[in-house]
């Protein structure tokens, strides 16, 4: 039987019709009666309550996970509106799906552990290759959640994921698990069996200006940098008044100029988007920050982003050892889309050139990415990252 992939997409204005079209297209491409697993990615223009029953009816018996996204990556185009389905029918790839709701109310590490355990229980005794998951973007202290996953699945186990997204509104995102539409939750799938996975991520942002140090931080809030309220850093660089910073007008700018925290041997920087500024000048980041850490304002441009995407694709290609991928899944930061603008698809075109133009490819834009970060000693530990592109190839 082998592995069969079906991809369906529609942007019909009517939610049910769009769901039907996408599901039928995926099923037709699959050319199999049964899909074992389906990934559903949808922009927030579609009411999940309206689309999910139709998709489930057409892709009967398929396990489904999914989430909302700020944009969809298709093999031939980037779409800011639509429903995208990836269906897999395979006797080689094994899947173990899981979900965890009410994330904020529970202890994050414990939640991560339970989440991973559920996927393991549903997976069985097969070889495990990667864990793909999507988390509500309201979960701001995701380091502990990630630690829970790593404690269960292994520190160096490829954990790949993204936060569900609603086009920088941070209010309307959702997750999908089977027939349930969830909020404040995580959904994921453990992949394994007779398959291989190659993962790589890059962002392309570079540090700018002198290094500064975080004096005081808690979770994802930075209170002070170099003895000053943290927001002063942005005020200095963008020459904005504090009033402008407090009213949140700065946020779109800070997405283009995130904070960078060096990791490992300073070869790579973890990016942190600033999503809000508190009246006392503290800044709220997407993701945890450590007290005492060195921090930089980061800058990127179209070329550095394109170059980073190509490097990630090259690394995936290298990891595949010349074997052709059966499927490519891309999770990319919405900040990159904002920066790349009309050139966004060029990045995807470059990836296709490297990994094969006929390999099925899908992707989504997220507010934050979970991905193994490259370091000198080749150990790849997963971090929560902003502004990056994560390429996962399954062979």
């Amino acid at each position: 039987m082998g592995t069969h992939i079906g991809i369906g997409f529609s942007q019909d204005l009517d939610a049910e019709i769009a769901a039907k079209k996408a599901a039928l297209q995926a099923k037709t491409q699959l050319s199999r009666n049964k899909a074992h697993f389906t990934l559903l990615l949808t922009t927030i223009h579609y009411d999940p309550q309206a689309i999910l029953p139709t998709i489930r009816e057409i892709l009967d018996e398929s396990q489904i996970i999914g989430c909302s996204t700020g944009g969809l990556i298709l093999s031939e185009k980037i779409q800011m509106r639509g429903i995208l389905l990836l269906s897999i029918s395979s006797d080689e790839i094994s899947v173990g799906t899981a979900y965890m709701s009410d994330l904020v109310e529970h202890h994050e590490t414990e939640t991560g552990i339970n989440f991973a355990k559920m996927s393991l229980n549903n997976f069985g005794n097969q070889r495990r290759d990667a864990f793909l998951f999507f988390v509500d973007n309201q979960l701001r202290t995701n380091t502990f959640f990630l630690r829970g996953l790593q404690q269960t699945l292994g520190n160096m186990f490829p954990l790949v994921g993204g936060t569900s997204c609603d086009d920088f509104r941070f209010t309307n995102n959702f997750q999908i698990y089977e027939k349930n539409i969830l909020k404040n939750s995580a959904v994921g799938v453990l992949l394994g069996g007779k398959m291989g996975v190659a993962v790589s991520s890059r962002h392309g942002w570079r540090p700018l200006g002198k290094p500064r140090f975080i004096d005081k931080a808690s979770g994802n809030i930075i209170h002070a940098i170099d003895g000053q309220p943290a927001a002063n850093l942005y005020r200095e660089y963008f020459d904005k008044s504090m009033d402008e910073i407090y009213t949140g007008k700065l946020s779109p700018l800070t997405i283009l100029y995130p904070l960078g925290i060096p990791i490992e041997d300073k070869k790579e920087y973890l990016l942190r988007n600033v999503i809000d500024i508190l009246p006392d000048g503290s800044i709220i980041c997407q993701g945890d920050v450590s007290e005492g850490a060195e921090v930089h304002i980061m800058i990127g441009n179209k070329e550095s982003c394109r170059q980073a995407a190509m490097e990630a694709a090259q690394e995936v290609h290298h990891t595949l050892l010349g074997k052709k991928a059966k499927l490519i899944i891309i999770i990319e930061s919405l900040a990159r889309l904002k920066l790349l603008g009309r050139m966004a698809y060029q990045e995807i075109a470059e990836i296709k050139k490297i990994l094969g133009p006929d390999v099925p490819l899908i992707g989504m834009y997220s507010h934050g990415e979970f991905c193994p970060v490259q370091s000198r000693n080749q150990f790849k530990k997963t971090y929560y990252q902003n502004g990056s592109i994560v390429i996962t190839a399954i062979r």
């Binding site: 800011m80 200006g209 002198k210 304002i297 009309r342």
Partner: protein, 515 residues
């Protein structure tokens, strides 16, 4: 003083050592201080460099911000142009209003990326009706429609082509419209046609995170103009379409009437032919008996007959012959009309036919001392025709020419070969009746006779029609000859017509396609 006390000596030694160590320490401290000063100076330099670097970084950020902003505006403008081009193509390729608005809804939603779209168009009763609605719930739409009924100032401004938006409108208007439309960034623009305001286009977003630019305003404004133009086209097309439909209905009705009339005429004609045919058959049998008995009596076999009776019998015989000829002609016409007479097509030589006809007519020509001129094109090939019938045509037409040409007159017969394209037919005749034949034989029989009045020409080929002139009053005829001639020529896919001038002469033209 002798210094030999060991204790004292030790003390002195210690003092010297202390002094030495102190001096050394002082030197070290001094060097340290120098080093610290050097390091402090270095640190200051380093900090200055970092500050310098930071200043440069800030400059870079500012430049980068400006570039990013410009790039974003450029991207939006290009996206806008793409969208406009696509929308324009979509709405210009349909003249169906409903389909046009369906396409517009898709384009506005998918390509422009606005969350909320509304197009209101005035209907025939001058009421605003929504043709595109996305993101505006029923109660919101009702509020908007009711507001547009009340606020004449806003409508007046829209009629004058004024747009409103969250960028350029006065603050109070902006806040009011944001509340009415339940949007943050918005554009409200009129859809204008030549005869005034056709409707209103409104787009917007609920979230302030996706602000508008002046490029968006420009895009929506151009789009509304194109919608106005497309509406104009659509309405014009609708009017033309309706007129055409009405016209078509009228044509259909008239055609129906004409077809019914034609059918009636054809039926009457058929009945007439059948009647003539039946009557002619019925007449011919007793007439043959009459003629037979008259001939028998004239032979004297039944007894000698007086001269006066003989003369009367000759008259009976003569008139019987005329009647038989007339009945035969009628029967021929009826047969040809009904398609019962099949032409016996065979290869004919025109020279040969004319020779035979000339032989028959020579005596009459000589009697009236008429000059007979015959011009026949040598290149005319043999053609398919019923030789007997064609001879009949020539005899009939030449006979008429002789009949109506005075003594010492002139009759010219010209026969030439013509291509279909070279023919100059009378306006009442169509080339299409000549079918696909390309080569034609054109025959013209020109006499210097009394000519035919214009009023008689259209009826000349009608059955039983006889021109009222002095010759016809003397020479009796049936009025069937020319009718029969036309039937025979038409049965050969040809045409016949006449041109004439009273007292100057006539010309009978006919064409026979070369088959």
């Amino acid at each position: 003083m002798k210094i030999d006390d060991p204790l004292l000596l030790s003390l002195v030694g210690l003092v010297f050592i202390f002094i030495f160590v102190s001096l050394r320490l002082l030197a070290v401290v001094k060097r340290r201080n120098q080093k610290i000063q050097e390091l402090q100076a270095l640190l200051q330099n380093l900090n200055a460099s970092f500050d310098h670097l930071d200043q440069q970084a800030k400059l870079i950020v500012k430049t980068d911000l400006e570039l990013t902003k410009t790039q974003e505006q450029l991207d939006r403008r290009l996206d806008g142009l793409d969208t406009l081009q696509k929308a324009s193509r979509l709405i210009s390729t349909t003249l169906d209003e409903k389909e046009m608005f369906r396409r517009l809804e898709e384009s506005l939603t998918v390509d422009t990326g606005f969350e909320k779209n509304l197009i209101l168009i005035y209907d025939k009763n001058h009421e605003l009706k929504n043709t595109v609605r996305r993101g505006f719930p029923d109660n919101n739409l009702a509020d908007i429609l009711s507001y547009f009924k009340k606020d004449l100032d806003l409508l007046t401004a829209l009629r004058q082509g004024q747009s409103f938006s969250s960028i350029n409108s006065p603050e109070t208007t902006k806040i009011f419209l944001q509340k009415l439309l339940k949007v943050q960034p918005f554009i409200l623009t009129p859809i204008l046609k030549q005869d005034g305001l056709a409707g209103i286009l409104c787009v917007g977003n609920e979230s302030p995170s996706n602000p508008l630019t002046e490029g968006d305003e420009e895009l929506v404004s151009i789009l509304s103009s194109q919608i106005g133009q497309a509406l104009e086209n659509s309405r014009l097309f609708e009017e033309i379409f309706h007129s055409r439909q009405e016209l078509e209905l009228k044509v259909q009705e008239r055609t129906k009437q004409l077809t019914a009339a034609l059918e009636k005429v054809q039926n009457v004609s058929k009945m007439k032919s059948e009647f003539i045919s039946a009557v002619s058959h019925e007449l011919r049998t007793p007439l043959t008996s009459v003629k037979g008995y008259a001939s028998l009596l004239m032979t004297g076999k039944l007894g000698k007959i007086p001269q006066e009776v003989k003369e009367r019998l000759e008259k009976i015989n003569y008139h019987s012959d005329n009647l038989v000829k007339m009945i035969n002609d009628l029967l021929d016409i009826a047969r040809i009309e009904s398609g019962r007479t099949e032409m016996a097509f065979d290869k004919c030589d025109i020279q040969n036919i004319i020779e035979t006809v000339s032989d028959l007519l020579t005596l009459q020509i000589k009697e009236k001392n008429i000059e007979w001129i015959s011009k026949i094109d040598d290149n005319i090939p043999k053609f398919l025709a019923d030789r007997n019938q064609i001879e009949r045509v020539f005899i009939n037409l030449a006979g008429n020419a002789i009949k109506f040409t005075p003594v010492k007159g002139k009759i010219t017969l010209t026969i030439g070969l013509k291509m279909k394209s070279e023919l100059s037919l009378p306006v009442t005749m169509s080339r299409s009746s000549l079918k696909d034949f390309e080569k034609m034989i054109l025959v013209e029989i020109i006499d210097t006779g009394i000519g035919i009045a214009d009023k008689d020409i259209p009826h000349l080929f009608d059955e039983f029609y006889r021109v009222d002139n002095e010759i016809n009053q003397v020479v009796k005829g049936t009025g069937l000859g020319l009718s029969l001639v036309r039937k025979i020529i038409e049965a050969h896919h040809g045409q016949i017509w006449v041109t004439s001038q009273v007292n100057k002469g006539s010309c009978f033209h006919f064409i026979l396609p070369i088959q």
